[in-house]
């Protein structure tokens, strides 16, 4: 188990460091990055199998006691998240290799190694058992994302990168203050000890901590009203980068929020979370309707979908938390595919603007098919995973008699279908109004891009087929999070 966890965290980092050293040899660099990411993915499957059979596994780094040292905790929630996240990064890197060859030739480009650093951050954030390591993992993810967003140095990227960096840096600073407050109040940053001590604090202090960390994780997860940085910055990055950001970054924020707020028993915050969840869904979906660019529509939908996860969390019931977890796992591959298809559209049509697009279904039916599956899944139509995910969240909402937020979730679902239809009409039907120059993609690279997108669609369909198992695992994860006694005794044993 120790070796597996070490591989998940260190293999991507090692691949990244050597990848930077040999960045001038494009082939060696790409093979190195892929090896690092692939071995992390395989190791994450091993961890999944181990935890699936034997339950939560705890690793004390350096064998320090949990009060002093770093613990890594692989519970059901973590091992559900990890393989999906790592598979997404691997698939996107495959797509990115083809995209780089097309755009850059043999340039000493750093996207691959930087994705490696980001992967290490993701693994660490998912597995960590204490708040400060979570902060460090967030910084690893964010710093590599700052560089990924801006390192091509074009004016639009620098402009939106500034907003992105300033917003996220501010939330990191708040995170640091939050850690200071928590440490003053409880004398620990270990999650298990916090789960023990925070419920014993007086109501004011406890809710203060809960609200503070809601703002911290909420900024990273782009909840209403802290989302304005997202639709500004994501569309300006290269498509492959946006695909990773869309699939993972905000999700890591909501992951941390689900873990922290459920473990420490912030049930009293439920009503506030539900109001914010409803606003997030509606504002995201309405924002998407106003846009006329594929990538910007999809970016607003990230926000809208975060609302559903927040709603599941805000219900603070076993069914609600299960719904949030199922939604989270379903959402990651779906969103990544949609952005990868956005990249295919951009390559083929020379633009992702709806007004200057059209007629792609007749010319490239394969791309239309690759778009249709995740788009219907995102809108929550059966038999795709989106239906199961929305169904679990909404039925949990009905069970808790949270009628207003259930109504908003249904409205947001209809609006999502509307804007997916808008993309379909704009891009795939009709005829192309102007002659924007398509990007010249060689046959081999095109096959690689389509193959990578197909893999991601396959991953999303795999989740649809095994939705029953996913819901069972989600229930198990939710039980582990809500009955913090088990978590506490496992970590402190």
């Amino acid at each position: 188990m120790n070796a597996l966890v070490a591989t998940v965290i260190l293999a991507p980092l090692l691949a990244a460091s050597f990848g930077i050293a040999v960045r001038h040899k494009a082939r060696v660099r790409d093979v190195l990055t892929l090896t690092g990411l692939a071995s992390a993915f395989v190791a994450s499957l091993g961890i999944f199998a181990e935890v699936y059979r034997n339950g939560t596994s705890v690793i004390r780094v350096g064998d320090w006691s949990p009060e002093l040292g770093i613990v890594l905790v692989a519970d059901t929630f973590a091992v559900l998240m990890l393989p999906v996240a790592l598979a997404i990064i691997l698939i996107v890197e495959l797509f990115a290799i083809a995209q780089r060859r097309t755009e850059w030739g043999a340039n000493p480009e750093l996207t691959g190694p930087l994705l490696g650093v980001l992967t290490m951050g993701v693994s660490l954030a998912v597995l960590t058992g204490d708040l400060f390591t979570l902060f460090v993992a967030f910084e690893l993810i964010l710093v590599s994302s700052y560089v990924l967003l801006t390192h091509q140095g074009q004016q639009a990227q620098i402009r939106s990168g500034m907003t992105y960096v300033v917003m996220n840096l501010f939330s990191s600073t708040l995170f640091l203050f939050g850690i200071a407050f928590v440490y003053s109040a409880t004398g620990t940053v270990n999650m298990a000890l916090l789960a023990e001590r925070i419920p014993e604090l007086s109501d004011g202090v406890r809710l203060g901590i809960g609200a503070w960390f809601f703002v911290v994780f909420g900024t990273k997860a782009a909840v209403f009203p802290l989302f304005s940085w997202l639709p500004d910055s994501y569309p300006t990055a290269p498509t492959t980068i946006t695909a990773v950001f869309a699939g993972l970054l905000t999700k890591i924020g909501i992951y941390a929020m689900i873990r922290f707020h459920t473990l420490t028993g912030m049930d009293a915050m439920g009503p506030v979370l539900l109001i914010i969840a409803g606003a997030t869904m509606i504002v995201g979906a309405l924002g998407a309707l106003a846009q006329s660019d594929v990538k910007r529509i999809l970016s607003f939908h990230i926000i809208s979908q975060i609302g559903y996860m927040l709603m599941g969390l805000g219900l603070f019931s076993a069914a609600g938390t299960t719904g949030a977890i199922v939604f989270l796992i379903h959402h990651m591959p779906v969103k990544t595919v949609l952005f990868l298809v956005g990249g295919l559209i951009e390559n083929d049509q020379g633009t992702s603007n709806l007004d200057r697009n059209g007629g792609l279904a007749a010319r490239r039916p394969l791309i239309a098919g690759l778009f249709a599956v995740p788009a219907l899944s995102l809108a929550g139509l059966p038999p795709f995973s989106g239906f199961v995910a929305k169904f679990s969240v909404i039925s949990a909402g009905i069970a808790e008699a949270a009628t207003p937020v259930v109504v908003m979730a249904l409205i947001a679902g209809a609006l999502t279908l509307l804007s997916m239809t808008k993309i379909w009409l704009g891009v795939f039907w009709g005829s192309k109004p102007d002659k924007s120059k398509p990007v010249r993609v060689s046959a081999a690279n095109r096959r690689l891009m389509l193959g990578a997108t197909g893999l991601a669609v396959g991953l999303s369909l795999f989740i649809s087929f095994y939705a029953g198992t996913l819901v069972e695992l989600g229930e198990r994860a939710a039980t582990e999070l809500r009955n913090s006694d088990v978590y506490i005794s496992e970590v402190l044993r």
């Binding site: 460090v136 710093v143 639009a156 620098i158 402009r159 990168g161 500034m162 200071a180 407050f181």
Partner: protein, 117 residues
């Protein structure tokens, strides 16, 4: 808890917050530097009263300063160093593009806002 330290944290935070609300990235960088100091001081304060000796030989913690917040503060300082440098590079690149270092509005968003009017 020392009132002087508390007031310092409050002062640094308010000046830092004021600076990061401005448009110019160089002011924002200064703001983040001050906010970074404030958060490090807050971390140090969370470890107990000021002025205690550091742990010398690990033989006991009575009367010694708590080393954990100090370790956390050190990590935070290193991270904020790196990020300050990154922000400076960003400001310099923005100056190459536009001749200033101002954080600008979302262009597409402003376009849609104009359509509505």
């Amino acid at each position: 808890m020392s009132i002087a330290l508390l007031l310092t944290v409050g002062g640094l935070t308010s000046v830092g917050l004021y600076l990061i609300t401005s448009r110019s990235l160089s002011r924002i960088i200064l703001g983040f530097a001050l906010l970074g100091h404030a958060s490090v001081l807050a971390l140090l304060m969370s470890g107990g009263p000021a002025g205690r000796a550091p742990i010398a030989d690990g033989s006991g913690s009575d009367g010694f300063a708590n080393p954990l917040p100090q370790a956390l503060a050190l990590t935070a300082i290193v991270i904020s160093f790196g990020l300050t440098l990154f922000l400076l590079a960003l400001a310099s690149r923005q100056k190459d593009h536009t001749g200033d270092d101002l954080v600008e509005d979302d262009i597409e968003d402003s376009r849609i806002a104009e359509v509505k009017q």
